[in-house]
Symmetry: C2
Subunit: 165 residues, 2 copies
């Protein structure tokens, strides 16, 4: 993935995305999944914090001046994160497809294109694609109070639980 | 504009957007401008902080727990903000069309779909559509250090200045 950093005034970063030749192959994933492409699909997530196939395209890294990290995550159908929490909270923007979001002890919520979710700090939750549709989200995650903390895998029973529509 | 607030755990808000009947008329603007629709066009901006025609769809309001406000702004060709600054900085995500971004004393930058800009706190800047194309951006603005401060209108000379590509 090629990134061009333009230092307009430190630490401004301009990350070139959709017009990036190096992402053309990965963008095929979006077309295969029937998704419109706003941001490149990015890289396959290979850590064990996710179940199924998901991709991350990092847009902005948090730093000491602006603690927000922003990333575009593409989940193939059935893919989801583990249960986790963010010490400074998170905002999710549903960009395409159909996804799920659930906080511990609450009913699962269906996320459709155009929806925004505000997840409070230190609330255990998971998110991912629905059973039969991919899902694309922008995640805006404050890093100023520490990294994401990861917990258990989302079980099949939790994943398939009845949602709030 | 109808919003359904689901209090999953306070202050989580789920804002339903693209499937919202009340926005159908306003969404015609997107189609007329040849844009794909991720978020609804929202409301015409009627304050004097913008030149030309622009629309705001508010996705998330900042609060004491998460200071970030998130909004989707659609600029018609030639439309732009005044010069302004954000005490806690801002992140811009280019969603569709072609836009401009400029910091005071720097060369204007062209923003294309897929680009992210990290604007530092208290840096005077403006952004908007290019001369002949509309522009859609997501703005992520920290409110924890105070509101946006607005300054002069962007002159025709500044708006039409040569860009960095």
């Amino acid at each position: 993935m090629r990134r061009i950093f333009l230092y307009l005034s430190l630490p401004v970063w301009v990350v070139y995305g959709a017009c990036n030749d190096g992402n053309q192959n990965r963008n095929i994933v979006h077309k295969e999944l029937g998704l419109s492409l706003v941001f490149p699909t990015g890289d396959l997530i290979t850590n064990d914090n996710f179940t199924g196939t998901a991709y991350l395209y990092s847009l902005v890294e948090g730093d000491s001046i602006n603690g927000n990290s922003v990333g575009n995550v593409t989940f193939e159908p059935g893919a989801r994160s583990k249960w986790h929490l963010h010490p400074a909270g998170q905002i999710l923007l549903a960009i395409d497809g159909v996804g799920y979001y659930q906080e511990k002890g609450k009913t699962k919520v269906i996320l459709r294109k155009g929806v925004a979710i505000k997840c409070p700090p230190n609330i255990l939750h998971w998110h991912g694609a629905s059973i039969d549709s991919p899902f694309v989200q922008i995640a805006i995650t404050g890093r100023e109070k520490g990294p994401t903390q990861w917990f258990d895998t989302v079980s099949e029973g939790e994943y398939n639980s009845a949602p709030t529509h």
